[in-house]
C-alpha cells in the first residue's frame, strides 16, 4: 500500500490558507525577513477557499468611533455579558484599522462617504465591494512568497514529547501522503458547519449559512492533540434570510429594517419582554431567542420589514447582496419578491461552531500569544476560542498577531525541527487512507453501494439526525436537557467507537468527506459534554437548557474548558476565571 510521500520542512507551517492564514503569512514575511520559510497547506485553491469564497459586503470590525475598549465592551455586551477573552479582543481592536488600510492598498474597494471617509454601517462596520475578497486576501500570502500547497487535506497533527512537530495529510489530486514539519505550526482551518440537520434537503442540504467545507478539522485536530478546548457549550444560531440563509446585517444594520411578527409588531421594540433585554439592539443570541419565542407563540412567520427601512438604501439592496450572496437575489427573482415592497422572511438556521463570529468555540490560548496549551501549536481565526466578534477584519488582524507571536517564540526559544519516528509515520499513513483502502476490499450491491461499508454521506446524515433530535437542533427550537443529551452521547459515542470502522471512501474526493465525518464526530463529543457541563442557560436562543433555564453566576460565570484523554476517551473539565479588563457594566455597551 505504500504511497508516494512528499516531505516538507518549514519555519512557519500554516494549516488553512484562509482569512487568518493568508495574513499570518504576510505578517511573518514582514517581520521574519527574506529567509524565513513559510509554508501553507490548503485543502482547496487558496484564491477561492474558505468563508470568503462567495464574497462579502461589509467588514464587521472597524473602529469607526470610540476606542478599542469600546469595541471590547460591545463584543462582551453582544455575548449577553458572558465571559470573553477581553485581552485577545483588545489586541485585535488596537490593530484592526491598520489592517483594513493594508487590504485597501491591495485593491479591496471600500465604499466612501462624500467626505472621503469609509462608509460605515452602524458603529463597527464598513461597507465594501467584496466580491473578490478572497483573491485579494490570498494575494497577500502570495506576495509574501509563502510556499503554497493547494489541494492538500490535512488530517492530523504530529506530536512528539508534548510538542507539535508538524502534520500529515493527503493530496486531493495526487493521492500522495504529505508530511510537513514546522518549527511552529499555525492551525487556521476554520470552524465547523454541518453538525445539525439543515432545513434544505437533498440538493439543498448545503444551503446553510456557514461555509460547509470547514467541517471541524481544526477543532478535532486540536482536541486529538490534547489541547485545551473552550466554548463548545455555545453555538451560533444564525438568524438569516429564510431558505437561502444569507446574512441579514445588510437589512438590520444597513437599512434599519426591524423584525416584525404576523401582527405587524416590531416586537423587539414593542414587546416589554424583549425591550427589557435590550430591544432591537439586544445581544445577538437574544434576538435569535426572540424570533423563536414569537414563532412558538404562533406569531410567525417573522419578517424583516424592509418597507420601514431607509428607502435610498433599500433600492441598492440587490447590488449589496450580489457582492456577498448572489443566490438571494436570484431567489427573490424566482419567488416574486421585491425587497423594497415586500418584507423579507427570516429564520433561525442550523447552528454552527465558530470562534471569530458570534461564537466562542475553539482552542484555549495562553495570554495573547495564540499558542494553545500544546507547545508550538498556535491557532487563529475561527479555530481560536472565547474571543468573539473578530469577523473578517479582526481575523486578518488576529492572523497577523499570531505570526508576530510565533516569530517572537522562534526567536526566543529557537525551536529545531523534530525527528519523527518512521513507525509513527507509517501508522499515520495507514490511518489517513484507511477509508479508501477499505473501499477497495468491498463488494457491491446492484445499485453500486458497498456491501461491507457505509459511505461518508450516510454517516453524516446519521450524525446530523442524532444531533438534531437529541442535542437541540433547529426543529427542536435549540432546546436541550440532561436526558436528551445522554441520548445524544450514547448514540454519537456508538458511532465514534464502533461504526467508524465501516466508513469507506471510493476516491480522494470522498476521502475528504470521510475525514469530515471523523472530525465532526469528534467535535460532537465536545459539544455534548460541554453543553452538559454548563448547567445553566447563559446564551438563550443559542443553547436553551430546559432543565436549567436560568443564569447561575455562582457556578458558571467562567470559561469551561476540557482536555481529551486518548486512553479513556473522557474529557477532563476545568473552569478558567474570567478577567475583566475593560471596566463597566458587562450588560451595557459603553457607547
Amino acid at each position: 500500500m505504500a504511497r508516494e510521500r512528499v516531505y516538507i520542512d518549514a519555519d512557519l507551517l500554516i494549516i488553512g490558507g484562509g482569512t487568518a492564514g493568508c495574513l499570518a503569512a504576510w505578517e511573518a514575511r514582514q517581520r521574519g525577513g527574506r529567509d524565513l520559510k513559510i509554508v501553507i497547506l490548503e485543502k482547496a485553491f487558496i484564491r477561492n477557499s474558505g468563508c470568503l469564497s462567495a464574497g462579502m459586503n461589509a467588514l464587521n470590525m472597524y473602529i469607526n468611533q470610540g476606542t478599542p475598549q469600546d469595541y471590547v465592551s460591545y463584543a462582551r455586551y453582544d455575548m449577553c455579558g458572558a465571559p470573553i477573552r477581553e485581552d485577545i479582543i483588545m489586541s485585535v481592536a488596537e490593530l484592526v484599522n491598520e489592517t483594513v488600510a493594508l487590504l485597501e492598498a491591495e485593491g479591496l474597494p471600500i465604499k466612501k462617504k462624500p467626505d472621503g471617509r469609509y462608509l460605515n454601517r452602524g458603529k463597527w462596520n464598513v461597507e465594501i465591494n467584496g466580491s473578490l475578497l478572497k483573491p485579494v486576501t490570498a494575494s497577500m500570502a502570495m506576495q509574501a512568497g509563502a510556499e503554497i500547497y493547494n489541494r492538500v487535506f490535512v488530517t492530523e497533527l504530529i506530536k512528539i514529547g508534548g510538542k507539535v512537530a508538524g502534520c500529515v495529510g493527503f493530496g486531493v489530486r495526487d493521492g500522495k501522503f504529505y508530511i510537513a514539519r514546522g518549527k511552529a505550526v499555525l492551525l487556521a482551518a476554520g470552524g465547523c458547519a454541518g453538525l445539525w440537520r439543515p432545513l434544505g434537503h437533498d440538493d439543498a442540504h448545503h444551503r446553510i449559512w456557514y461555509f460547509p467545507f470547514n467541517a471541524g478539522g481544526a477543532y478535532a485536530m486540536c482536541k486529538r492533540a490534547g489541547a485545551k478546548m473552550v466554548g463548545f457549550d455555545h453555538r451560533l444560531v444564525p438568524v438569516r434570510t429564510k431558505d437561502t440563509y444569507s446574512p441579514t446585517g445588510t437589512l438590520a444594520i444597513g437599512m434599519g429594517a426591524p423584525m416584525i411578527n404576523s401582527l405587524g409588531e416590531a416586537f423587539m421594540r414593542e414587546r416589554p419582554e424583549y425591550v427589557k433585554l435590550g430591544g432591537h439592539t439586544a445581544p445577538t443570541p437574544i434576538r435569535a431567542w426572540a424570533l423563536c419565542q414569537e414563532t412558538l407563540n404562533h406569531r410567525g412567520p417573522i419578517m424583516m420589514d424592509t418597507r420601514r427601512g431607509d428607502p435610498e438604501r433599500v433600492a441598492g439592496l440587490k447590488g449589496q447582496y450580489l457582492d456577498m450572496s448572489p443566490c438571494l437575489v436570484l431567489y427573490w427573482g424566482c419567488n416574486d419578491i421585491n425587497p423594497s415592497m415586500d418584507p423579507v422572511e427570516i429564520d433561525a438556521a442550523d447552528p454552527s461552531l465558530v470562534g471569530s463570529h458570534a461564537g466562542l468555540s475553539g482552542a484555549w490560548t495562553i495570554g495573547t500569544s495564540r499558542m494553545t496549551t500544546i507547545e508550538r501549536l498556535f491557532v487563529s481565526g475561527d479555530a481560536l476560542g472565547a474571543a468573539p466578534s473578530r469577523f473578517i477584519s479582526g481575523t486578518w488582524t488576529c492572523g497577523r498577531l499570531a505570526a508576530r507571536s510565533i516569530l517572537y517564540y522562534i526567536e526566543r526559544v529557537d525551536p529545531q525541527l523534530l525527528e519523527i519516528d518512521p513507525d509513527e509515520l507509517d501508522r499515520l499513513e495507514v490511518r489517513t487512507f484507511e477509508p479508501l483502502e477499505r473501499y477497495q476490499k468491498c463488494t457491491f450491491y446492484t445499485n453500486g453501494k458497498p456491501i461491507e461499508g457505509i459511505i461518508p454521506e450516510e454517516m453524516e446524515w446519521r450524525m446530523q439526525f442524532i444531533m438534531e433530535e437529541y442535542c437541540g437542533g433547529r426543529s427542536r427550537w435549540f432546546h436541550v436537557s440532561e436526558s436528551y443529551l445522554s441520548m445524544a452521547r450514547k448514540l454519537i459515542n456508538r458511532m465514534r467507537h464502533d461504526q467508524l470502522k465501516y466508513l469507506v471512501a471510493k476516491d480522494l474526493h470522498d476521502l475528504q468527506l470521510a475525514w469530515d465525518v471523523i472530525n465532526r464526530l469528534d467535535v460532537c463529543q465536545l459539544v455534548i459534554e460541554q453543553i452538559n457541563y454548563r448547567k445553566e442557560t447563559r446564551y438563550p436562543g443559542y443553547v436553551n437548557r430546559t432543565d436549567y433555564p436560568n443564569v447561575d453566576n455562582e457556578n458558571f460565570d467562567c470559561f469551561i474548558t476540557s482536555v481529551w484523554d486518548p486512553e479513556t476517551d473522557e474529557l477532563t473539565f476545568d473552569k478558567e476565571a474570567y478577567e475583566q479588563i475593560v471596566p463597566g457594566d458587562r450588560n451595557e455597551e459603553s457607547i
Binding site: 485543502k43 482547496a44 485553491f45 484564491r47 477561492n48 477557499s49 474558505g50 469564497s53 462567495a54 485597501e104 485593491g107 479591496l108 474597494p109 465591494n129 466580491s131 473578490l132 485579494v136 489541494r151 486531493v172 489530486r173 434544505g200 434537503h201 437533498d202 440538493d203 439543498a204 442540504h205 448545503h206 444551503r207 446553510i208 461555509f211 460547509p212 467545507f213 431558505d243 437561502t244 440587490k318 447590488g319 450580489l322 457582492d323 448572489p326 443566490c327 437575489v329 436570484l330 431567489y331 427573490w332 427573482g333 424566482c334 419567488n335 416574486d336 474526493h509 475528504q512
Partner: protein, 112 residues
C-alpha cells in the same frame, strides 16, 4: 444554487492543465467528465453556491440554477466578469430583466 454546465458552451478548458472551474471550487465539486471532455458538478447538493466556478468560466458555460424545492423556474442570474467589475443580469421568472454593475477591484474607475 447548483451550477449546471451547458454542453454546447463548455469546451473542457482545452489547453489548461486543469479546467478553471475545477481549479477554483472550494468544495472540490467541479470535475471534468473525461468521456465527453466537459465539466460537471459531481454532487449539486454539496454546492455552497459561492459562484466561484460560474465567475471563473471563460465561456460562460455554467448556469446557476436554484434548487426547485426553494424557488420557481425559470429565473436566471448571469455574471459577466470584467477586470474591475462584474455585470450581473437578473432575469426573473416573469421575464423582467435587471442589470447591476458591481465593482470588484479598486482602480480603473472608467470601466463601464
Amino acid at each position: 444554487m447548483p451550477p449546471m454546465v451547458i454542453p454546447d458552451k463548455c469546451d473542457g478548458c482545452q489547453g489548461e492543465g486543469e479546467p478553471l472551474c475545477e481549479q477554483v471550487c472550494p468544495g472540490d465539486l467541479m470535475m471534468l467528465d473525461r468521456s465527453v471532455n466537459k465539466a460537471v458538478c459531481r454532487n449539486v447538493g454539496d454546492c455552497w453556491d459561492c459562484m466561484s466556478c460560474t465567475k471563473a468560466c471563460p465561456r460562460q458555460a455554467i448556469q446557476t440554477r436554484l434548487q426547485y424545492q426553494v424557488a420557481f423556474f425559470p429565473g436566471k442570474l448571469i455574471p459577466l466578469v470584467g477586470t474591475h467589475s462584474v455585470t450581473w443580469t437578473l432575469i426573473d421568472c416573469r421575464g423582467n430583466v435587471e442589470r447591476f454593475v458591481m465593482k470588484t477591484l479598486a482602480g480603473d474607475e472608467e470601466e463601464e
